[in-house]
Symmetry: C2
Subunit: 357 residues, 2 copies
């Protein structure tokens, strides 16, 4: 058997490591200590200009890239946050995420995307990422049912975005009940007396808040709650189609207007109505909630409630980073309730008369 002298046992190493240089190499090259190189990078104000120059030159020569894994480990900070959503491909969420990413990026934080798919295991796994230091905090949109991370771990930097009245812990949101009532009021002002509802999933906190607003609006207008014109969807376009069809088939008397708990269901409902030759808004008025980008392009353009997405995202990032920095001056269970916008478009018309099925 042939022995090769000095042949080192080389462990398989990750790609690209061959030409990886470290801070020590830079220091040697620049003729300074590693401490000085480190300072030149992280606290240049503490280093003389001449030294900085030398270091820069050395860095270029060896094409040095600081190992952030080491830096983060050393400073016990990951400089990333996880953003949890039940479904990224939902346009409302993706639009908010876009804002979050922008604001986080601006502050030097990376965004770890967590699609929980309403699955508790996945949610837990992402929450564990902050417990294990892979992320410094969490922004969550619509927590999965009852389990809220805040309950189990109180000092986890956590913020809920677009939550509801009953949300535990810190929450940046809109007054869902008031906004929904606003919609009902508007329809009432258009002489509608028979206002249906396409609700979201029953257990969902948003459904609860918005249902409350719907009922309040009805009550204030002296209208009675009629279960036969309340259908249940699950916040998707498809479920809106089904819910509208169901309502048309089973209503004691057809509504002249329908409040939808989000835009997607409203879009689905319009589709269902169209295929039955029911005209929106001439025959039935429709309102949505969220003001997703598409709302202004559907036919007719949808009257809806706009949540100030970008503003809310910014507040969420801002406040989360403060919590991460240990600033607890704001009580941990504060709800920031932001103003919503009523967006008037073309999906509503004055009620003509009650329609009999």
């Amino acid at each position: 058997m042939l022995h090769i002298a000095f042949a080192p046992i080389v462990a398989p190493r990750p790609k690209g490591e061959e030409n990886m240089s470290n801070i020590r190499e830079v220091a040697r090259r620049a003729g300074v200590s590693v401490a000085t190189v480190s300072r030149s990078l992280s606290h240049p104000e503490k280093v003389s200009p001449a030294t900085i120059e030398k270091v820069k030159k050395a860095i270029d020569e060896v094409n040095y890239r600081p190992n952030m894994l080491a830096r983060n480990f050393r400073s016990a900070r990951s400089y990333s946050i996880v953003v949890l959503v039940p479904d990224i491909s939902n346009p409302f969420f993706s639009e908010v995420i876009s804002s979050i990413e922008m604001h986080a990026h601006k502050r030097g934080y990376a965004v770890l995307l967590g699609d929980t798919q309403d699955d508790e295991e996945r949610e837990k796994r992402y929450i564990r990422m902050v417990e294990t230091r892979l992320a410094d905090g969490i922004i969550q949109m619509r927590p999965h049912s009852v389990h809220n991370p805040v309950e189990s771990n109180n000092d986890l930097p956590y913020i809920n975005l677009c939550g509801t009245e009953g949300t535990l812990g810190c929450c940046i949101r809109v007054d869902n009940a008031a906004a929904t009532k606003h919609m009902v009021d508007y329809l009432v002002s258009l002489n509608h007396r028979r206002i249906g509802l396409i609700a979201g999933l029953r257990g969902n906190p948003h459904t609860i808040d918005r249902l409350k607003g719907y009922k309040q609006g009805l009550e204030e207008a002296g209208l009675e709650f009629d279960k036969s014109i309340v259908a249940e969807g699950e916040y998707t376009i498809w479920s809106g189609v089904n819910a509208a069809n169901h309502m048309m088939d089973t209503a004691a008397e057809l509504p002249t207007a329908i409040v939808c708990m989000n835009d997607q269901m409203a879009i689905g409902a319009m589709q269902a109505l169209r295929s039955r030759n029911i005209k929106v808004p001439e025959d039935i008025s429709i309102v949505g909630f969220d003001d997703i980008d598409y709302a202004r392009y559907c036919d007719p353009p949808l009257t809806t409630i706009a949540q100030p997405r970008d503003d809310m995202a910014q507040v969420a990032v801002e406040y989360l980073l403060r919590r991460i920095d240990g600033d607890n001056s704001v009580p941990i269970d504060t709800h920031f309730v932001r103003p919503y916008d009523f967006v008037l478009r073309k999906s509503c018309a004055p009620a003509k008369k009650h329609q009999v099925k």
Copy 2:
């Protein structure tokens, strides 16, 4: 001045660290070495069952959470990948991202979201994250113009998803030209002889490939390319509205069908046509590209090309992880060309006759 004996100088420390325990504490508690604790967690097969039990018990007692920052640093792996898109809130991208997240998560990788907003600085910053070890690799959708990371750094684990024929480096894509030609062929089979085009941004590689397919289709059918029915958009709904309006205003003779380079512009075009009382598909047929979720719900439901999103995302993750693991058996510039689906819906009808403006 009063000196307080033994009062330690305490650096401000990140939240929650107070009750943080480390591997040494677990080891002490379990009466074993830190090496054994480490092995119990990472390579349990090398540890006796009895020891594992002891370790588990100790972990529970001190509520130990391994510091992944340390682990990743030590193993020189971040176990995360960055996913670069020009715009997350674009439904096509968010739908693909959703799949990527799922497949990455399944393989134990986190997804760092990078919204480049077609800005070169942002793109570079994210690419730098893999150079600095914060991410192990990149999946990019539609690189910003000419600058492709592959050019500058050849051993960066990089994959392009949904790129084009001219994409440098590894790419998972569809044959954009063939798919677009397929659309033209279909319209020709419906007796359309005057087929307009709403193109995307001029410099965009997708625009180039799809334009090629459009021209090929025209040529094969013996139709001539007429600039007056080619309008330019930028892949957004709004730009589709404008492009369609422009085309209607300036066409030498109105088209009987319009090929749109993506669904969003198709949706915008339908909106524009509607507001001019031009009926789709009776007066003008429309086809899109991408098959975003919404395509089936617009009015009429859109005939389009479906890219196999989930399949492509899976291949991308799969192959990227291989590259990260140092498997270079597949040539670095391989293009995986996946089959597209022609999705027939209701937005096209046989041509009646040429319409004169």
